[in-house]
C-alpha cells in the first residue's frame, strides 16, 4: 500500500511540474506584448509599458520568469485577475464550491442512470432493452452538453415553467432553491458521463456474467436478482469505479459549458468570463487548479480501487 502510494506520488510530481511548464508556456502564445495588453489605453506610453514589463519580470530571460512564477505558485500566489484586481486563488476559492456541488449531483445522475442501464443492457443482451440502452448511450455521447441544456431550458423552464432557467442559490442559504437551480444543469452534466458509465458497466457485466462463480451461484439455486446484484455487479463495479474516476476530467470540462448555459456562477463560468475579458492570469490559474484537482481526484480513485479490490492490497 505504502509502496503503491509512493510510486504514484513519484509519478505525480513530474506530471505536475510539466503541467506548470505548459500553463506558463500559454502566455508565450499570446499575440503581441502582454505588457501592452495590460497597459490598455496607456499602451502608447513607453514609460508605463516599461514599468509593467519590469513588474511582471517580462524583461528577464524566460527561465527566470518561469522560476519566479513557479515560486509564486508554490507559495499559493496564482497571480492577480487583470479585470477584477483580485487574487486568482481567492476567486477560485469562491467559485469552486459551486462547481463541486454541481459535479457531485452530476455524478449522482451519471451513476443512477448509467449503472442500471448498463446492467439491464448486459442481462437482457440482444433484446429490445439492450437496443434501447445502447441507443440512449449513443444519444448521450453525441448530444452537445450545451445544446441539451438549451433544449431543457426551452422545455422545462420556458414551456412548462417547472424550474428556473438560470441562476444559483447556495445550499447553505436555501437547500430547496439550491436544488431547484442546480438539478437541471447537474442532469445535463451527468448525461454524457452516464452514457460512458453505461458502456463500461455493460461490458464489465458481460464479462462477469460469463464467469464460473456466476454459474455456481445460479447452480446453487439463488434467485436471479441475487446472482446479478450480489455476485456479478459487485465484481463488475471494480473496473467501473476506476473508469468513473477518469470521467472527472469530463465533468470539469462539461462544467464550463453547463455553467455558461445555466448562468451558474461557478468555476466554469469564471473561465468563460475570463476568456471574454481576456483575463489571462485567471485562465492560467484555472487550468493549473483543474489539472491539480484532476490528478488528486485520480489518486483518490486509485486508492479507492485499491480499497475495494482485495487482490491489489498486497501491492
Amino acid at each position: 500500500m505504502h509502496g503503491f502510494l509512493g510510486s504514484r506520488l513519484a509519478q505525480i510530481i513530474p506530471t505536475l511540474l510539466l503541467v506548470s511548464v505548459i500553463v506558463f508556456g500559454l502566455q508565450s502564445l499570446m499575440p503581441g506584448d502582454p505588457a501592452m495588453v495590460i497597459a490598455g489605453e496607456s499602451a502608447g506610453d513607453t514609460a508605463v509599458v516599461a514599468q509593467i514589463r519590469h513588474q511582471l519580470m517580462l524583461d528577464k530571460p524566460v527561465p527566470v520568469q518561469y522560476l519566479h512564477w513557479l515560486d509564486n505558485i508554490l507559495h499559493g500566489n496564482l497571480g492577480y485577475s487583470w479585470r477584477l484586481q483580485e487574487p486568482v486563488l481567492q476567486l477560485v476559492e469562491q467559485k469552486l464550491p459551486v462547481t463541486a456541488q454541481l459535479s457531485v449531483m452530476a455524478f449522482f445522475f451519471a451513476v443512477v442512470i448509467g449503472v442500471p442501464m448498463g446492467v439491464i443492457s448486459a442481462v437482457k443482451r440482444n433484446s429490445a432493452w439492450d437496443w434501447l440502452a445502447n441507443a440512449v448511450g449513443l444519444f448521450g455521447l453525441s448530444i452537445p452538453t450545451f445544446w441539451l441544456g438549451i433544449v431543457l431550458i426551452l422545455l422545462v423552464s420556458v414551456q412548462l415553467g417547472w424550474l428556473p432557467p438560470s441562476g444559483y442559490v447556495p445550499l447553505t442559504r436555501n437547500w430547496v432553491q439550491s436544488l431547484a437551480t442546480t438539478i437541471m444543469p447537474a442532469f445535463v452534466l451527468g448525461n454524457a458521463i452516464a452514457a460512458i458509465l453505461m458502456r463500461h458497466t455493460r461490458s464489465a457485466m458481460l464479462v462477469a456474467l460469463s464467469q464460473d462463480y456466476v454459474r455456481t451461484a445460479r447452480a446453487k439455486g439463488l434467485r436471479e436478482y441475487v446472482v446479478i446484484v450480489r455476485h456479478a455487479l459487485r465484481n463488475a463495479l471494480i473496473p467501473v469505479v476506476t473508469l468513473g474516476g477518469l470521467q472527472l476530467g469530463a465533468l470539469l470540462s462539461g462544467a464550463v459549458l453547463t455553467e455558461q448555459v445555466f448562468s451558474v456562477p461557478g468555476f466554469g463560468k469564471m473561465v468563460v468570463d475570463a476568456v471574454y475579458n481576456r483575463d489571462y492570469p485567471v485562465i492560467q490559474g484555472v487550468v493549473l487548479v483543474t489539472a491539480l484537482l484532476y490528478v488528486l481526484l485520480n489518486l483518490i480513485t486509485d486508492l479507492l480501487y485499491l480499497a475495494i479490490n482485495p487482490r491489489l492490497r498486497g501491492a
Binding site: 509519478q11 450545451f146 438549451i150
Partner: protein, 292 residues
C-alpha cells in the same frame, strides 16, 4: 464436422484481413447509417453554395425572427438572415474543424507514439510524461485556454483542438507500435539488415493503421463537439460567417421569442456527431483483431 467447417472457412477466408474488415464494415447496419449521415453532411458542406436557398450573411430587416415557413424552412434569425442557409454553410466550419483538428492531432501524435514505442527507453519516458501532463488537463479546458491565448478564430480553434487531441493519438500509436514490435515479421525485417527508420516507417507504421483509423473517426466526433463548444464560447469562426456553435450562443438571447433558432443548429451538431460515432463504433467492430 468442426474440422470440415474450420477447413472450409480457412479456404473461403483467403482474402486479406483488410478485405474481410471492409466486408464486415459494409454489413454493419448502424455503421452504414452513420456513414450515410456523415456523407450527407459532407455533401451539404461541399455543395453549400449550390443548395442553399438564400445567402447565409445577407440581412433582411423586414424578416427578423420569422418562424419556420415555406420561404424560410428553419425561420430567420435576429437580423433577418435565413436560418437554413446558415445551417447549411455552418456545416463547412464544423466539418473542416473536425477533419483538420484530427489531422493535426495525428500529425503530432502518431510519429511521437511510433518513436516512443519503437525506441523505448528515455525517449519513451520523456514523451510519455509530456502526454501524462497534457492529459492531466481536462480536454476542453486546455482547448479553451489554448484558443483564448492564440486568439479567437477558426484556424486557432483547430490548432487548439488538434494539439489537445494529439496525446490520445500518441497513446494509441505507442501501444499499437509496442504490440506490432513483438511480431516475427519485425524481427525478420531487422534481421535482413533494414535500418531502424526503415523498419519503423515501412513495417511498423502501416500496421498501426487500423486502431488509428478507429481513433481518428471517433476523434472527428469529439473534435466537432469541441469546435462547436469553442465557437459557442466565441472562440471559433467569427461573425458574420456562420458556425453552429456561435449560432446557438446567439439563439440563447431569443429563447422565448424564437425557439427555433436554438433547435436547428444543435440538431445539426447532434446528427453529424452521431454519424461519426456510429461509423467509429462500426469500424471498431469490423477491425477488432480478435474477430479477424
Amino acid at each position: 464436422m468442426s474440422t470440415t467447417t474450420s477447413l472450409a472457412s480457412a479456404l473461403t477466408v483467403s482474402e486479406s484481413p483488410a478485405r474481410i474488415a471492409l466486408g464486415r464494415f459494409l454489413r454493419h447496419r448502424s455503421a452504414m447509417f452513420g456513414l450515410a449521415l456523415s456523407l450527407l453532411f459532407v455533401i451539404v458542406a461541399l455543395a453549400a453554395p449550390l443548395i442553399s436557398p438564400h445567402s447565409p450573411i445577407v440581412t433582411d430587416w423586414s424578416a427578423i425572427r420569422l418562424a419556420p415557413s415555406w420561404t424560410h424552412p428553419m425561420g430567420t434569425d435576429e437580423i433577418g438572415r435565413d436560418e437554413l442557409a446558415r445551417v447549411i454553410f455552418g456545416a463547412r466550419a464544423t466539418l473542416l474543424a473536425g477533419v483538420v483538428s484530427v489531422l493535426i492531432a495525428a500529425a503530432i501524435g502518431v510519429p511521437a507514439g511510433v518513436v516512443a514505442g519503437f525506441a523505448r527507453g528515455w525517449i519513451d519516458a520523456v514523451l510519455s510524461r509530456i502526454v501524462d501532463a497534457m492529459l492531466a488537463i481536462p480536454f476542453l479546458i486546455l482547448a479553451i485556454a489554448l484558443a483564448a491565448f492564440l486568439g479567437p478564430n477558426l484556424r486557432n480553434a483547430m490548432i487548439a483542438i488538434g494539439v489537445t487531441t494529439a496525446p490520445i493519438f500518441m497513446r494509441v500509436a505507442r501501444g499499437t507500435t509496442m504490440d506490432v514490435m513483438t511480431h516475427d515479421y519485425i524481427e525478420a525485417a531487422r534481421a535482413v539488415g533494414n535500418p531502424p527508420w526503415r523498419v519503423a516507417v515501412q513495417h511498423v507504421l502501416p500496421n498501426t493503421f487500423p486502431p488509428l483509423l478507429v481513433q481518428a473517426t471517433l476523434s472527428i466526433a469529439t473534435s466537432i463537439i469541441a469546435e462547436a463548444s469553442l465557437s459557442f464560447l466565441g472562440l471559433g469562426e467569427q461573425p458574420p460567417t456562420p458556425a453552429w456553435g456561435s449560432m446557438l450562443n446567439a439563439a440563447q438571447q431569443f429563447m422565448t421569442q424564437a425557439p427555433w433558432l436554438a433547435i436547428f443548429p444543435g440538431m445539426a451538431i447532434f446528427l453529424t456527431v452521431l454519424g461519426f460515432n456510429l461509423m467509429g463504433d462500426g469500424l471498431r467492430d469490423a477491425l477488432d483483431p480478435r474477430r479477424l
